[in-house]
Symmetry: C2
Subunit: 359 residues, 2 copies
DNA sequence: ATGAAAGCGCTAACAG
DNA sequence: CTGTTAGCGCTTTCAT
């Protein structure tokens, strides 16, 4: 191969846009797309130098850098991260598993997670566990087969098989949206148990005595309910009834929930809903029936979703800083991936009861 | 390598759970995880046979199948799709680009898309284009570097550079959420222009003459607005004012939008909002001011989001079957990927104006 | 600062 | 039906 300065620096040839069709086709299996080697040839350097330009430019002379970059643009080269990942065992991929996209709660965590990761050069790959077609087990297998550099999970209850797979993968793991004594690795969450208790204390403290629940069939919602009921019992207050609704929850389910409670003859003073979405439905139904909130009926939601605060101002709710959860998860993950020591790898982001009923 | 029947079929050895640490470490670069080769050794077959068991089991004897599967379980083998994809040029990955996760509209399309694809053995990789950190250009590069087998786009306006990259990738492309005369490849969408027109006709037909808009700074929302205004002009009706709001839109912005219109002294009879989220805010604000909808003020939304129908029953909206869009996109994509001929590769899913104001 | 050689883990293509 | 051979495109390691 000629290495005259002109070729090396790629200074001329207004028309050598694409590497000339190499004589007898290099390989019968080639995919047709531009490779490192093609760029290298055009720039008059070896493939490894092109690799360095892309990954460790500080190790390369300014001249070479320039020439290679020009060749990259000329050829329209797009690196093949499959090959790169295979060779280096680093994919720049982080996977996150959430139950569904249908619930704004999880998305509020995923957005900042994605933001932080992509700012650091990582790509987020989402897996949805709430589908009948793919059980969590298979989903994890599918994800691990792409060899992500790290993985973010929703919740802390995983099958022992899943835990084994995760351990075997030897990558950083962050569990979110809950707390546990025995995390797989890192953890950013809050206590659902304490929330149930706090809500019970809050409502009984305001004088309410007759309660009802509208609760999603969700693991964590169930924890909140259990501790809520336990605390109520301690206070001598009564839970008249519970309406269970499937996930993902909708506003409609909330409406129907209140309708059912009332038609069943219950007259609760306050209703604790397992999410703001359900609470929204309860409020809509209350309004359509001419009930005043919170005078006739107090409503407590969960999550503090943005839309809820601006639709019915009479909704009190449990605020959880979901965005912070995503950010902090990204932080500790990135620290670990960068080889930095992670000071605090078990984070409780807490919660707060937000009073809006007085508005 | 010994190939006694017992070894070959892997029938014994209760304790040979993990391939015995091979004498001098096979390679200094091994990543430590179980490979096809490890499974092959345990099962007493060649690596390619294990590959067949995984990908074309119909080509393998029942006995061999059995033995290999046992070995796979024993070793906890997880295939490396980086290697597989590199070797076969098929990654079983489909990428989709949407503006944001913050808008339920797009998610309603993505959910069924993901569902269909994963049922067919493909994994969906999401890219968010609405971020300041990654412009659409870079996002596309990042995505293509993972060599997806196909790609789904939101919208039909892409930079010429993007179009070139997509063309160069030589993979199936589906554009969604809009129509165009010159799609890159396949297309599933609906006409925003016709929607604006239809809404204008609908509202003027009901006798409204004084209008206002609350419109997101979104390309497609702008198209709807333009044709809406044009149609109004033809009818001799007046648009008093437009409130522009940034994306992603929130209920709050809708509230503030109506507040602004009123405080500016406008008294529209009907407001056309660029999404149900904004409409929700307008309705909430109207209610808090004691305005009756639609008697005092008619409100038209867009998208027909599920929560909107059950919160304020007085919202009329433009229904778009977003789920069908996702499903059909998956259909034509999968057909193409399976090598089947795609009969209808340009699909208009239409829309419908939903009257709910009378409830 | 740059290059040559070797191989990451898998599958295509061809034998047998 | 199963195995052998030869890469896929990149990065690591070690020379120079």
């Amino acid at each position: 191969m000629v290495r005259s300065p002109s070729a090396r620096l790629g200074r001329k040839g207004p028309s050598n846009k694409v590497p000339a069709e190499e004589s007898p086709r290099a390989s019968a299996r080639s995919t047709g797309s531009v490779t490192l080697g093609d760029v290298a040839k055009l720039a008059g350097v070896s493939p490894i130098t092109v690799s360095r330009v892309l990954n460790r430019p500080e190790l390369v002379t300014a001249d070479t850098l320039e020439a290679v970059r020009r060749a990259i643009v000329q050829t329209g080269y797009v690196p093949n991260l499959l090959a790169g990942g295979l060779a280096s065992s680093r994919t720049k991929l982080v996977a996150a598993i959430i139950p569904t996209l249908g619930n704004a709660m999880f998305i509020d965590t995923i957005q900042p997670l994605n933001d932080c990761l992509s700012a650091a050069g990582y790509q987020l790959m989402l897996g949805l566990s709430g589908f009948p077609t793919t059980c969590e087990e298979d989903l994890l297998k599918a994800i691990l087969s792409r060899r992500p550099d790290a993985i973010v999970l929703t919740g802390v209850n995983h099958s022992s098989e899943s835990r084994q797979r995760l351990q075997a993968a030897r990558i950083p793991v962050v569990e979110t949206w809950d707390l546990t004594e025995k995390p797989i690795d890192m953890l950013v969450g809050f206590s659902h148990e304490k929330i149930g208790e706090a809500v019970a204390d809050y409502l009984t403290g305001r004088g309410y005595r007759r309660f009802a629940l509208v609760c999603a069939e969700d693991e964590r919602a169930r924890i909140r309910r259990r501790s809520f009921l336990a605390a109520l019992a301690r206070q001598g207050a009564a839970c008249l009834a519970t309406v269970d609704v499937p996930t993902p929850t909708t506003v409609r389910m909330g409406r129907e929930g209140l309708a059912r409670l009332l038609s069943d003859g219950h007259r609760p003073e306050a209703i604790f809903c397992s999410s703001d979405v359900l609470a929204q439905g309860v409020l809509a139904e209350a309004q359509s029936r001419g009930l005043t909130v919170p005078a006739d009926l107090a409503v407590m939601g969960f999550a503090d979703l943005d839309f809820a605060a601006y639709t019915f101002p009479s909704l009190s709710t449990v605020h959880v800083d979901r965005a912070a959860m995503g950010r902090r998860a990204a932080e500790i993950l990135l620290a670990r991936l960068a080889g930095r020591a992670v000071e605090e790898k078990r984070i409780d982001i807490g919660f707060a009861i937000v009073e809006r009923a007085s508005t």
